[in-house]
């Protein structure tokens, strides 16, 4: 029997995908490891210095707040080749949703 009710899972899934590391860092899925690290470190410094431009990022679900936790988590996720592959996939899909 399928329980035909909307659950939190979809909301939580959307939330997780809005936190795609490529979106959080504002880098292209083809970025090199060094570019990702450098951009991540730059964002962390900008957030720590309180720069307004660093505090938000764009997603298909709308603008989201960028925090240093999210940035650190994004850097760590992309250091893992297997996880990076999955995030690349999502990032490409999320950047250009299929019609």
């Amino acid at each position: 029997m399928i329980r035909a009710v909307e659950t939190d899972d979809f909301e939580n899934l959307s939330r997780a995908h809005a936190e795609n590391p490529f979106l959080v860092l504002g880098v292209d899925p083809s970025a090199t490891a060094a570019e990702i690290e450098r951009q991540g470190q730059r964002l962390l410094s900008e957030l720590a210095a309180g720069l307004d431009g660093a505090r938000r990022y764009e997603t298909v679900f709308g603008a989201r707040a960028r925090t240093s936790e999210l940035v650190r988590s994004a850097i760590a996720e992309l250091r893992d080749p297997a996880r990076r592959l999955a995030h690349e996939w999502w990032a490409r899909g999320l950047a250009a949703p299929s019609p």
């Binding site: 399928i2 979809f10 899934l13 490891a33 210095a49």
Partner: protein, 824 residues
Amino acid sequence: MGSGIHVGIDLGTSNSAVALFDGDNVSVVTNAGGETLTPSVVRVDARAARTVGRRAVRGLDGDPGNTRAEWKRLMGTGERLPFEASGAALLPEELSAEVLASLLADVRDAAGFTPRAAVISTPALFELPQNHATTRAGRLAGLEEVVLIQEPIASAIAAGWRAGHEGSWLVFDLGGGTLDVSLLETADGRLRVLDHGGDNFLGGKDMDGALVEWAIAALDRRGQAGGLADRTSPRGRRLLARLRMACEQAKIELSRAEHATIALSESGIDGGGSDLEIEIARGELDALVAPFIARSLTAVQGLLARNQHAPGDVARVVLVGGPTLMPALRTRIGELFGGRIAAGIDPMTIVARGAALYAGSVGLDATPAARAPAPNAGLPVRIEHPSVTADLEPFVVGRCLAGAARPDRVRIEREDGGWTGADAALSPEGSFVIQVRLERGRRNAFRVRAFDRAGGEVALATRGFAIVHGVSIGDPPLARPIGVARADDSTHIYFAKGTPLPARRTFAHHTVRPIAAGSGDDALAVPIVQGESNRAHRNRLIGMLHLRGLDRDLPAGSRIEVTLELDRSGQLATRADIPGTGQTFEDVAFVLVPTATVEVAERELAAIGRRAADVQRRTFQLGVPAAVQAIGDVSALLAEADRALPAARAGDVDAAQKLHRLLMDVGGALDEAEALLEWPDLDAEARRCKLTYTPLVAQWGTPAEQQLYEQELEAAGVARKRNNAAELELHLDAMRALGRAAYCRDPRSMADALDWAAAHVTEAMDVAAASSLLDRARAVQAQHPVIHEAGVGLRALRAIVAEIWELFPSPPELRAKSFDSGIR
């Protein structure tokens, strides 16, 4: 940041050490006795005076009732260790605090200040309660800030931070009580932890134990072991402690010499007062420790196999811990890895050195000056930069904090004169971003200069800053996933393995049962678990958030937002918000590492033995190779538990704890095997999910749902091919969620749901309420004989069905399994 002094501490089972990093060099601090290692031993005398380290070690022999050692395995438990003469009973973390305070005093004597912050290392296999206890020990010792680092990461940083080695590393850390093996990788100067393995109950202490038994047998053959006939008597314990120390000393000597003597002066072991000497050759010791070495290599090979690595893929092996000085062990590891053992590293202090380097990389300045305000003269500027980085051209970000005398542009110069950046204009908000250039492998000091429009220099209130170029690790990674147990026994992962700390995440859940305010039964449980399994009960409960004292009644299905937050030291903060009532709860009960009584452990041992026999029988009947592998160690672990039982019965708390942990490990292996045996069912479920949900999502899903579903479906396919049950379960959960969300747009789904509810109404938590809702639904159906997609009738029915489902909670047995979780 990048300047100051950074303190790293290795809080070891047998010995502890402290190191300092000044941005250029790492030095190990010697204690008052001129040694780099301080024994982790505490003695409390009749007047409650406390002695730590080498002076206390003498008490292990002469005053065992008032001297404690090797309590690290007990960290995180509530077990108080008694000191007979003073009547004091101290928690393991309080004993650790004594050792830490002694190390901090050594730093004060050597460097002229008492550290306010430090990085403390913990074993990779420590769980949250044990990490909590370590942090508490640091605070008790007077530290304002404590950051934890896993020991293998500290070792790898120390071994390779300036060496420039790339590729995979293996850190083999054999301590007094535990073996940690870790696989790491350095790429582009960045260190990453691939995986951990090890054995919680294998250490130098086990080797000492084997040597002690050998020595007793040798004495017995000579008729001189009379005093050890009763090892539990005060005299027997004292003699045994002496013999153990003599054996340990002989073992250390045999690392350098071919022969050694186990010497016991005025031992009284033979019942008299004569001196005893037992000769031992290195070959005899090698034979005694061979089984332990073999076990340690099994752990190494298991870790490599799990990560698809062959020994030839490992570029370097770093050996850590006193027992790794044994030639037999070095030879065996050298044979396995073709001699690629990192040279020139002191295995006894490497962890402390790495911890100090890590303190530098996270900018944890230990000096009191770190809290001092910047010089007043000049314009205040906030400068942000990495303290340690592998990037030769990192960004530096700054912001002028006062607007009045804001300069026009800023310049950064390296103090050695080797590089000067181009002037950067200030943004409207007074900020600047400049990419600086570093000299490879050293500390780079910079000064910041500012100029007005006319080119005149503007004084800045900054001391300048420094960046060290070297291997960077970034934030401490979480060793095991942490999540919340849901009432259906699933785990909602909040932080995956490897998540950098600090971390904070919020997810939405719903309550599974109604709660009446002030009823006495108004506590909703949100269990917090740590472990790899998607099934909650297979993970370890580490904390419990209780929602008590509700303002008003909370119907089943109420939305609740749970936030978990972990700081760098592994401290967990938890919070639940109920948007419907505006109430917030932060009452978290942290779970201690369980210390079951020996009687309970004995019963558990018998039960788990029966379960192991059953799983073994089914495993071989079904012939699932992965399951055979999963239970490979079960017999050995059960045998070890049997061996620990007599000591546990005799009141040895360490043995009791070991017994408990062994039972947990056996339970974990059996869970894993059972999950693998269930693979055919899971595989069938995957096929069923695909057949059920694919057409539903295709017909009723939104474009976003369809896109997500396609990707989950493909990921599930990959997990099936890899026979990865945990991955597959995760993707199936996502497919079900998307399928259910799509299905509820199908007008027929409401009729199906109502038919099912009518057939099962007697199982509802509130039969009257369920019947009433069904009546309402029938009325809507009568009013809208044809239910249209997006029509009024469908919306009304959907709301009613949602209420009905709340009255059919997860089966009680599932909830009980998932630590009585009150949420889904």
